[in-house]
Amino acid sequence: MASVLLPVSLLLAVLLLIPELFGDFTAYQIGLYLIYGIAAQGIGFLWGKTGVLPLGQALFFGVAAYITAITLRAEGGLVLDLALAAGVLVIMAVFAFALAALIFRGRNESGPYFSLITLALVMIAEQIAGTATNLTGGFNGMSGFQSLGNLDPFGGFYYVIVTATVAVSLLLFILNRLPVNLIARAVANNEPRLQLLGFPTHAVKGAVFAFSAVIAALAGGLFASHQGIVTPTSTGFALSAEMVILAAVGGRFHVLGPLIGAVIVGWASAELRDSFPYWELLMAVAFILVVLKAPGGIAELLESAYRRFRPVGTTVPKPAIVAPKPRNGVAKSRLQFDDVKLSIGFVRILNGVSFETPATGIVSVIGPNGAGKTSALNTITGNLRLTSGSISLGDTRIDSRPPHMALGVGIGRKLQVPSVFFSMSVSENLSIAMMANRAGLIDLFRPTTFQWRSKPLADLLEHPSVPLQEELVQPVEHLPQGHRQFLEYAMTIAAEPPVLLLDEPCAGLSPDETGLMTDLVRDYQADTGGLVIVIEHDMSIVEAISDKVLVLHLGQVLAFDTFDKVRSNPDVQVVYAGGTK
C-alpha cells in the first residue's frame, strides 16, 4: 500500500503548495487543468485498460456541467446541491453502462465503431445545447450562478478541485492493485478467452465505461462551479478530442499520466498562445512525436527514467490461499445434441448432428479436416449460434446462450490455437483463470483474491515436466506455441469445470509432451469424475484415452462407439484411416 500512498501524498503536497508559491491566479489556472485532467484520467483508465477509446467524453462532462449550472442557479443550498450531484452521477453511470453494454453485446471488439458512436452522440449533444436556447442559453451559454457552496473560484474552490483530484487518483491507484484491474486489461488482450472464463465482457466494458463517464461528469460539475458559465463547447466534439489528447500525451497507462498531460498541455498552450503565433504547429509536432516515439506518453518516459534510479524490487509472492469452491452449475450430466444444424452463409457446417455422451468419461472426436469438429464445440459454448436443433447438458438447454455463460453451467474450453492473454505474464494469466467461476463481484475488489490457488492448478504447476513454473513472470508473448498449450490447459482446468472441451490439446507438442498432456487429461477426468471431450487426430492417443469415440464426417455423425468398434467400422475406414505421430 505504501507505493500508493507515496505518489498520492506527493501529489497532494504539490497541489497544496501551488497557491502558496505561485499565487491565486496560477492556482485558478491549474484548477481548470486539473478539472480537464480528471476527465482525462477517466479516459485513460478506460482506453489504457480495455482498449475502448471514447471520442465523446464531453457528453458526460457537459451534461453534468449544465445540470450543475441549473442546480446552482436554483440556489437550493449546499445539501440539496450535493444530493442532486450524486443523483446526476448515478444517472450518468446507468446511462453509460446501458449504452456500452448494449452496443458491445455479442461483439468482440473495441474497435472504432463504439468510438464513432460516442462521437456522434457528443455532436448531437453539442447541437442541442447550442440551439435549445430556453434550456441551455444557447451559444452564449448559461451563466449567472454562484459556485458550489459559494466558494471563491480564485480561492476556496481550488481546494475542492484538489480534493477531487486526489480522491480520483487515490481511487484509480487502488483499483490498479485490485483483481478488477486484471479483468479490465484482459478485455483488451483477448476478449473471447475472457468470455470462456465466464466473464461477460460487454458488461465489463460497460462498467469501465460507466466509471469513466462518472469521472467525466464529476469533472463537468466542478467545471460549471469553477467557471460560472457553461457553453455548448463544454459538451462538444473539440473538448472530447482534447481530453483524449491529454490522456495520450500524458500517458494513458498511468494514473497520473492524464493529469500531467492536462497541466503540461494546458500550461504550454496558454503560455505559447500569446507569445508564439504558430503555437498550434508546435503543439501538433510535439503531439505527433509523442504518438510515434513515446506511445505511453510523458508518464511512461518519467517512469522509465525513475526506474533507472530505482529498479522495480522483486516482490515476494504472497502465500497462497485456498481458493473457494468453484460454482459449478451442472454436475455429472450427459451432453446431448439433438438434430443440430449449423450454416454460415451458404456453407452448411453441421448437418443434423445427434448424439448423447455418457455423464462421465473421455469422449474423443475424430474425423477428416472440415468435418465440423471444432464447430461442434463452438456450438456448445455458444460461440456459434445453431441454425436449428438443440443442445442440452442434463436437463438444461444450453444452445443460444452467449459464450460467457458456458462456464457457469460447467463447461470449460480450450481452443484449437492456444488462446491466452498475450501481453500479460504467465502468473497474471493464471490469476484470471483462478477467478473464473469463483470470484463474486466483491472478490474482484479484494487483493487477497490474487493469492487464490486450487489443488488441481497447484498440482499441475508443480509437475516436474510442465514448463510453466519457471516462466511465471514472463510475458506470454514470447512463450513458444507448445508452452502456450500447457498454459491454456492450466487456465481451463483452473475453474474445475465438470465438462471439459479440449480442441487438439497436443497439436504442436513433441511426442514426450504429447504423452504428458494425455496423462494430465486422464488424471483430470479421474479426479473430477466429469466429462472430457477431446478433438484429436493421433489414433494412438485416441486409443489410449477414449471411453467413446465420436466420428464426424461432412457435418454428420458417422459413428459413435468404443474405440475398437469405431476402428472396425467399414464406413469409418472409408473416410478416415487414422495414423500416429
Partner: protein
C-alpha cells in the same frame, strides 16, 4: 458573510498586484483578440487597429494624463480558456481595463469573472441586450443595422418578400426577431425563415426553398465560412438575378471569399467599411497603411471595432476622471467621441453611430447609403 470575506480577500489580492504594476506609471489595457479559431482571421487587423488607437490616445495625452500600454491575449478559444487568458492580463499583468473583440459566449464568461470590477468595452457586432456594471458596447446591434436599412432597400430596390437565413444560434435568431418588425413596417412580408447548424456546409436545399418562396430579398445572418459557402452557391444557382441579399456580418474578407462573380447585389450593413470616404475614415485608412504597409491585413468592421473600443475607453475614462467602474458608470451616459465611424454617443452603455449600407457587386464594397447617429434599441436601461 462568506461571500464578503472572499470579496475582501480578492480585492486585497488585486490591490497587491496593482501595487506592483503601478511602478511603471503606465496604464495597461488588456486587448482581447481572436488569434485562434474560426474568428482568427480577424486577429491581425484587430491588433493593428488597437495599436493605432493606443498611439492616438497617447499622442493626445493618454488617459487622465497617463500613457497607456496595450497587452494582448488570444481569446479565439472556448470560453474557459479565453477567460483564463483575460484573467492573466488582469490578475497577472495588472491590466486595468479591457477591450474585447470576440464571440458572445466569451463575453458572458468574462462578465461573470470580471464581476464589474474592471471596465470592459465589447466591440464587435452582436445581438444586443447585454448589460452589466462596467460593460460598454461599441458594436452594432441588429436594430442599428436593420431599422434604417430595410425600409431603404424596400424603397430603392423595390423588394418586399424577405427570406431570413442564419446559423442556428442566438445572434441570428435575435436579429431576425427584430427584422420581422422592420419588414412589416416597411410593408414587406417574411416568406421564409431558416436556421442551419454550424456543421452544415451544403446549402442547396435552402437555396431551393428560397427559390420556391419567391423571395426578392434575403437577409443573411450566417457567419464566416458558412456565409461564404452560402453566397457562392447562391450565385451559382443563378439566384442573384432573382433576389438581393443583405448581410449584417459580411465584411471585406468574407466578400473576398465569396468572389466578384458571386457578389452581385449583395448588400452589407455595418458601422464601418474600409471604403468609407469621410475625412475621419480616410485618415484612419491612411494611418493604417502607413503603419503596416500595403500588404497589411485588410481593414474591416470587426478589426476596426477595436479602435472604436479603445477610443471610447479613453473618452469615458477621461470624462469620469478615473478607471473606477462606479465613476465611469456614473459618467457614461451621453459621452461623445469621434472616430472613423463618425460622431458617436454612448446611450444605455451602447454606441449610437453612423450606419453604412454598401453594395458588394463587382467584389468590392461601394457605400450606397449612410444613416447618421443610429441608436440601438437593444441598449441598457441604466
Amino acid at each position: 458573510m462568506l461571500k464578503s470575506t472572499t470579496k475582501l480577500l480578492a480585492s486585497a489580492a488585486m490591490a497587491l498586484t496593482l501595487g506592483t504594476v503601478s511602478a511603471t506609471a503606465d496604464i495597461k489595457v488588456g486587448v482581447l483578440v481572436p488569434d485562434s479559431g474560426p474568428a482568427g482571421l480577424f486577429g491581425p487587423s484587430t491588433r493593428n487597429s488597437a495599436k493605432l488607437a493606443a498611439e492616438k490616445i497617447n499622442a493626445s495625452g493618454g488617459i487622465n494624463g497617463e500613457q497607456i500600454e496595450l497587452v494582448f491575449a488570444d481569446v479565439g478559444v472556448p470560453p474557459a480558456e479565453a477567460t483564463q487568458a483575460a484573467l492573466r492580463l488582469w490578475k497577472g499583468e495588472g491590466a486595468q481595463a479591457f477591450v474585447g473583440m470576440h464571440d458572445s459566449a466569451v463575453r458572458e464568461a468574462l462578465i461573470g469573472r470580471f464581476g464589474g470590477q474592471v471596465p470592459y468595452v465589447y466591440t464587435p457586432v452582436y445581438e444586443g441586450n447585454s448589460c452589466a456594471d462596467g460593460l460598454y458596447i461599441t458594436g452594432e446591434t441588429p436594430s442599428q443595422q436593420l431599422a434604417p436599412v430595410i425600409p431603404h432597400l424596400a424603397e430603392k430596390e423595390g423588394v418586399s418578400k424577405w427570406y431570413l437565413i442564419g446559423h442556428d444560434y442566438n445572434w441570428p435568431r435575435d436579429t431576425n426577431a427584430l427584422a420581422k418588425g422592420y419588414i412589416a413596417d416597411a410593408g414587406g412580408e417574411v416568406v421564409g425563415e431558416e436556421y442551419v447548424p454550424f456543421t452544415v456546409a451544403e446549402f442547396d436545399s435552402s437555396l431551393q426553398r428560397i427559390k420556391e418562396s419567391g423571395a426578392d430579398a434575403v437577409l443573411i445572418t450566417l457567419v464566416g465560412g458558412g456565409s461564404v459557402g452560402f453566397n457562392v452557391s447562391f450565385a451559382g444557382f443563378g439566384l442573384d438575378e432573382r433576389a438581393i441579399r443583405l448581410g449584417t456580418l459580411i465584411e471585406e474578407n468574407t466578400l473576398a471569399g465569396i468572389g466578384a462573380d458571386n457578389a452581385d447585389r449583395l448588400f452589407s450593413s455595418s458601422g464601418y467599411f474600409a471604403s468609407i470616404e469621410t475625412e475621419g475614415a480616410a485618415s484612419f485608412a491612411a494611418d493604417y497603411s502607413a503603419a503596416y504597409g500595403a500588404d497589411a491585413p485588410a481593414l474591416n468592421g470587426l478589426g476596426q471595432s477595436a479602435y472604436e473600443g479603445l477610443m471610447l475607453l479613453a473618452a469615458l475614462a477621461n470624462k469620469a476622471g478615473s478607471l473606477d467602474v462606479a465613476a465611469m458608470d456614473a459618467a457614461a451616459e451621453g459621452t461623445t467621441w469621434t472616430t472613423p465611424r463618425g460622431d458617436n454617443t454612448l446611450t444605455g452603455h451602447h454606441m449610437a453611430q453612423t450606419i453604412y449600407l454598401a453594395d458588394g457587386s463587382g467584389g468590392a464594397f461601394n457605400i450606397v447609403a449612410s444613416f447618421d447617429n443610429v441608436a440601438s434599441s437593444e441598449a441598457c436601461s441604466n
